[in-house]
């Protein structure tokens, strides 16, 4: 084997990708050629340093949650732009979406006049659905309650509870600011398998019927909503999760400190 042949095979040799016969030839050549032996040592060191130094990333929880949400909603599969769809078409699609949202808000405005309480729930459900669209899930993405809670300081005038419920299978995903009834409302986002749970936290207005410790449950468009009161705050949990598990979540959330 010549030096040139050896150099050509050196990377594959270092990577253990050479057939046994070739590897034996390279080994033999290195043993008798000081220059190629030095080359081999340098190359092995380079490969090791690159491998040891470069970071292997972990997919963020929010990304996993977004994908699970998308998988759980067959509509989103059809809605995903096929490869080659131009950006303009996508913008048009989003424009249409904006009109749809605007018109649904109009509808809510009409409904609100009839039944004030129902309209809040509707508004919260539609805000929850809007948030499931890519990029809108969380403003602060963190699985750590000590990152999420302070994020709301100065953004809203109440301090929402952010309990850690990891141990019972409701990982914290993050938080965001939403608008409900023309107010900025903190939303805490949790996960459950492929489902997402949004908790809307608003100051108590006194017109709610639940006493401390009581909950009211309802359903809208396939989403479950559970409302309760706690320490002068009015809370609503919204999710496509089944009712019993959402109740379990609310129990843990309101019981946790």
């Amino acid at each position: 084997m010549t030096c040139a042949q050896c150099r050509e095979l050196l990377d594959a040799y270092v990577d253990g990708e050479l057939p046994a016969a070739d590897a034996a030839d390279v080994r033999e050549h290195i043993a008798s050629c000081a220059e190629c032996a030095r080359e081999h040592v340098a190359l092995a060191a380079t490969a090791r340093r690159i491998g040891e130094t470069l970071v292997k990333y972990q997919a963020p929880d929010v990304l996993k949650a977004r994908i699970r949400v998308a998988l759980a909603q067959p509509d989103s599969l059809a809605a995903t732009a096929p490869s080659g769809t131009s950006v303009t078409t996508r913008r048009l699609a989003f424009g249409g979406l904006g009109i749809a949202i605007a018109s649904s808000i109009l509808t809510f405005a009409v409904v609100r006049a009839v039944s004030p309480d129902r309209s809040v729930t509707d508004e919260i459900v539609s805000s929850h659905i809007r948030a499931l669209m890519p990029g809108h899930l969380t403003d602060v993405a963190s699985t750590n309650q000590h990152n999420v809670k302070p994020w709301f300081n100065g953004r809203v005038d109440l301090s929402p509870p952010v309990p850690s419920l990891d141990s019972i299978g409701f990982p914290l995903i993050g938080g965001r600011l939403d608008y409900v009834q023309e107010r900025a409302v903190p939303v805490i986002v949790y996960g459950r398998r492929q489902h997402l749970i949004d908790v809307y936290v608003r100051p108590s207005t006194g017109d709610r019927k639940e006493a401390n410790g009581e909950t009211t449950a309802s359903a809208r468009n396939g989403y479950n909503v559970i409302a309760w009161q706690s320490n002068g705050m009015s809370l609503e949990a919204v999710s496509d999760l089944n009712r019993p598990e959402l109740e379990q979540f609310v129990k843990a959330f309101s019981g946790a400190r």
Binding site: L10, D11, A12, D15, E17, A42, L43, A45, T46, A47, R49, I50, G51, T53, L54, V55, K56, Y57, Q58, A59, P60, V62, L63, K64, R66, I67, A70, L71, P74, S76, L77, A78, T80, S83, V87, P134, G135, Q194
Partner: protein
């Protein structure tokens, strides 16, 4: 045709465990955490739509090939929209609280390597990441990238030599 629930279950079992790898590849190819997230989400949904074309085999390489295509699509679109692609630095890596001396050295080496890697042409960068970060075999890399094994070998060799010379690992190894 929307996929059947069975298919989704199977998909979650077979493909979703490789999301970390998918995200790692996208991070290195696109050099931006948000773009990378969007690309992986695109890729996951596209993978589900083409799941019937997946035959039992290497699910990771199959998914990575789709991720790579989604990254290329985004990259080309971004290039068409803006003349320049913003260079996103390794912010995540650098934000690690108080650094001890050893850690500072380690981080500066990491930052230097990251810069050198970002400076490589994409066809070298992707084989380096697939091999050195994700540990794929030449055969798997050849499947993901869609080039013969010989090409994988020569790109990897040239990529390593460029990195080594950019970092001063070995002065004789220019080229």
């Amino acid at each position: 045709m929307p996929p059947a629930p069975n298919d989704i279950d199977r998909f979650e079992r077979i493909v979703l465990p490789h999301l970390d790898d998918a995200y790692t590849l996208a991070r290195y190819l696109l050099r931006d955490p948000h773009e990378a997230q969007d690309a992986v989400q695109d890729a996951a949904l596209r993978a589900l739509r083409y799941f019937e074309t997946y035959r039992d085999g290497d699910a990771r390489a199959w998914l990575l090939a789709i991720v790579r295509n989604c990254c290329l699509t985004r990259h080309n679109r971004a290039r068409a929209e803006r003349a320049n692609i913003s260079f996103v630095d390794d912010v995540d890596v650098a934000h690690e609280g108080r650094a001890t001396d050893a850690r500072a050295v380690e981080q500066s080496e990491r930052a230097a390597l990251q810069r050198a890697l970002d400076g490589l042409p994409p066809e070298f960068r992707e084989v380096i990441v697939l091999r050195e970060v994700q540990g794929l075999s030449y055969r798997e890399i050849s499947d993901v990238v869609g080039v013969p094994i010989g090409t994988v070998m020569s790109r990897l060799a040239r990529g390593r030599r460029r990195l080594a010379s950019a970092l001063g690992y070995d002065a004789r190894e220019a080229g």
